[in-house]
């Protein structure tokens, strides 16, 4: 989403509280930056170490807390320019020496391979939790992470590579606590010898995941500064549902949202909660299609729809053809009709009018 300056700023107590909390946390906590790659050998470790090297040159106190055992010559060359906290062996495996890092108290600690489980019996089972400890102690962290080890993405990754991965995971919520995230992108040919199609799909997920994180950061930024979101980078489709059959329109909304990698919302506006089973059927179908369902009480469909569209940064409004369209010479009726008002007043959102459907109607994209 992009920014639009608010004409007037209104002091919102929740907003002020949020601001105060964020500022307080930001003061005492270290900063987290994550380099996300879609596979091994796309260059995550190199980017992370190179960032550490450049910050050290600018005078920051930087150490390497953890580094993967398999390293390219390029990685070795950068590593040689940095201070490494030795990794002791536990059950024969190298682990990050958290107490030593805390004693050493650098400004910045580099952690390669954020998804890593320590041997059973270790004080901290997962490496990302150790990173959290460092952050809480005021030490900044720059880490590398492979998309395939994000807990919430496991199912999608398994569906692509055709087998379930086991082993360590990092919760996606930890990614959202990062102050910065960067995608490490590279064409699959030079990345890995795996199946090209699979790698391309993983690559796409990584790009879109970072786009989503960036989008949320932007939303937070705009909220903090009291700026209303405007038409932006992500497509958001709003389905306007009534009691008219709309299965084809809902299916099309889903397909369009998928193609654009956008969000799908469904709205029903009525003066009071409606017990109409036809409305309930439509809302249920939209829910099943993965739409976020919104019901608004209001007598003015156009005003309620446009307000929601503005608030949520909607880029496309989908609705059905009027069931009883005015004859074309009856211009007066058209002018007063809701469709004309919606078209005339929709700012930044296209209005897409769908064919009239029979009950259980057929779909078209």
């Amino acid at each position: 989403m992009a920014a639009r300056s608010a004409p007037e700023t209104r002091p919102d107590p929740d907003l002020l509280l949020l601001q105060a909390e964020e500022e307080e946390r930001a003061e005492s906590r270290g900063r987290l930056k994550i380099f996300l790659g879609y596979s091994s050998r796309v260059g995550k470790s190199y980017r992370m170490l190179d960032e550490g090297r450049r910050r050290a040159l600018r005078g920051q106190d930087v150490v390497v807390g953890a580094i993967q055992p398999l390293r390219s010559p390029e990685v070795e060359a950068v590593l040689a320019q940095l201070e490494v906290i030795p990794m002791p062996l536990e059950s024969g495996l190298p682990v990050m020496d958290l107490p030593a890092i805390l004693r050493r108290r650098p400004q910045l600690c580099l952690i390669d391979g954020l998804a890593h489980s320590n041997p059973p019996g270790s004080r901290c089972p997962e490496r990302w939790q150790e990173a959290e400890t460092l952050l809480a102690a005021g030490i900044s962290v720059v880490a590398s992470l492979n998309l395939q080890f994000i807990a919430e993405r496991r199912a999608a990754v398994a569906a692509i590579i055709g087998s379930a991965r086991t082993g360590p995971v990092v919760p996606e919520s930890f990614l959202h606590t990062a102050d910065e995230i960067e995608v490490v992108d590279a064409p699959p040919e030079i990345a890995d010898s795996g199946n090209l199609r699979q790698l391309t799909e993983l690559r796409e997920i990584a790009l879109l995941l970072v786009a989503d994180v960036v989008d949320q950061q932007l939303e937070r930024y705009l909220r903090r500064h009291g700026i209303e979101p405007a038409w932006g980078a992500q497509e958001r489709i709003l389905l306007c549902l009534s009691d008219a059959p709309a299965l084809a329109m809902i299916a099309s909304g889903r397909r369009n949202a998928d193609r654009f990698h956008g969000e799908l919302l469904a709205l029903h506006v009525a003066p009071r909660p409606s017990p109409d089973p036809a409305v309930a059927r439509n809302l249920e179908a939209a829910r099943a299609a993965g739409a976020e369902i919104l019901s608004l009480a209001g007598a003015d469909f156009v005003a309620a729809t446009l307000q929601l569209a503005r608030e949520r940064g909607v880029t496309q409004i989908f609705l059905g053809h009027p069931r009883h369209p005015p004859r074309w010479w009856q211009r007066q009726r058209w002018r007063q009709g809701p469709l004309d008002r919606l078209i005339q007043r929709a700012e930044g959102a296209d209005v897409r009018i769908f064919p009239v459907e029979e009950a259980g109607g057929h779909a078209r994209a």
């Binding site: 960067e182 199609r197 391309t200 970072v210 960036v214 405007a230 074309w328 209005v351 897409r352």
Partner: protein
């Protein structure tokens, strides 16, 4: 002599000056040079950045061509010299660049087409805001109307896309340290493109565009798991309205995402022999986007559009928002009434 196999184009995509596109391109080129491929710099814009210049110095460069224009000195890429040198891989910075008038070709991407046709692989750099179909969106995000654009069909020819990502915080730090521009220019940049929400939105746009570009290059799945979506065909109504370019870009973009064919259709009153110069310009713009154009005679605009749509199995019609006049409203009202079996999209104006 048979024409050589065309070279492969790789685009390093970023979202602003200073994110490291050129640096990354040079790093990848060095790796190729180490693997004993014949790599040459065709055009490189140092912008006074020392680390990038040090990298570039390790590779062979083809000298630029000096041009005098209106008493001033300019330098452009020397395409003829590169063609004579004929390396395996040629590096060409700033794909969207407009050449000085009197150059053999107006745009650098046209020079690159020659290099590719001669069988060279080309690495190039561009920012997402230079993509033609995103022009309105970028204007809305940044307030800047980007003049140097690259048509989408040219970008689509690229065999590979690489997103050069950098967090906006890191970019702003670089700007403040004077890495990207000298201080005076940096202050001007901060006032325009380089505002944080603008940069964040452009970055998001670049990430989504890269995902879309690599998806578009993905060959169809061996066995389709889902029933194929019905084939889509999009019609964009072209008029003399200044919003026509915006409607065309939007229609093209939606068609592109839906993998739909796209037509641009103008309806002209039968008493007119040819479209007006303004309409002709809009149709030329559509052809530049590689949209098929038609000019149909007809006194009833809505009926003519819908007839054409039926004959060509159109599923979606794109229109500009009508002016709030009786005639403007009547067109939409009548179209909505006639095209009850199609989707009708009224494209909103994008404002800042």
């Amino acid at each position: 002599m048979p024409a050589p196999k065309p070279g492969r184009l790789t685009i390093f995509l970023g979202y602003a000056a200073g994110v490291g596109k050129t640096y990354r391109m040079l790093i990848e080129a060095q790796a190729l040079a180490r693997a004993r491929r014949d790599v040459v710099i065709g055009y490189f814009e140092p912008h006074g950045r020392t680390d990038t210049m040090a990298l570039a110095a390790t590779l062979e460069s083809v000298p630029r061509r000096p041009i005098e224009y209106r008493g001033r000195h300019f330098e452009e890429m020397d395409t003829d010299a590169i063609l004579r040198r004929h390396p395996d891989v040629c590096l060409v910075d700033e794909f969207a660049h407009t050449n000085v008038p009197s150059s053999p070709r107006a745009k650098r991407w046209e020079d690159v087409q020659l290099l590719l046709a001669a069988g060279m692989d080309v690495f190039t750099t561009m920012n997402v805001q230079h993509l033609e179909s995103l022009n309105d969106q970028v204007w809305q995000i940044s307030g800047v109307r980007v003049r140097e654009t690259v048509p989408d069909w040219v970008v689509r020819q690229a065999g590979e896309f690489v997103m050069v990502d950098l967090s906006t915080r890191a970019l702003l730090n670089r700007l403040q340290r004077g890495v990207i521009y000298e201080p005076g220019k940096a202050r001007a940049a901060l006032a325009h493109f380089f505002q944080e929400p603008t940069l964040v939105a452009l970055r998001e746009l670049a990430l989504r565009q890269t995902a879309h570009e690599i998806e578009a290059r993905q060959p169809p799945a061996p066995q389709a798991e889902l029933p194929a979506a019905p084939a889509e065909r999009v019609l964009v109504h072209v008029t003399a309205d200044p919003a026509a370019a915006m409607i065309l870009r939007r229609g093209w973009r939606v068609a592109n995402y839906l993998r739909a064919e796209c037509f641009a259709v103008h309806v002209q009153p039968p008493q007119r022999a040819a479209p007006s110069p303004v309409v002709e310009r809009h149709l030329a713009f559509a052809r530049n986007l590689r949209i098929e154009t038609r000019s149909l005679p007809g006194s009833d605009v809505a009926a003519t559009l819908v007839d054409f749509a039926r004959q060509h199995a159109i599923t979606q019609i794109f229109l500009a928002r009508p002016r709030p006049t009786p005639a403007g409203r009547a067109l939409v009202a009548r179209l909505v009434q006639l095209a009850r079996d199609m989707q009708v999209t009224i494209v909103a104006e994008r404002r800042r």
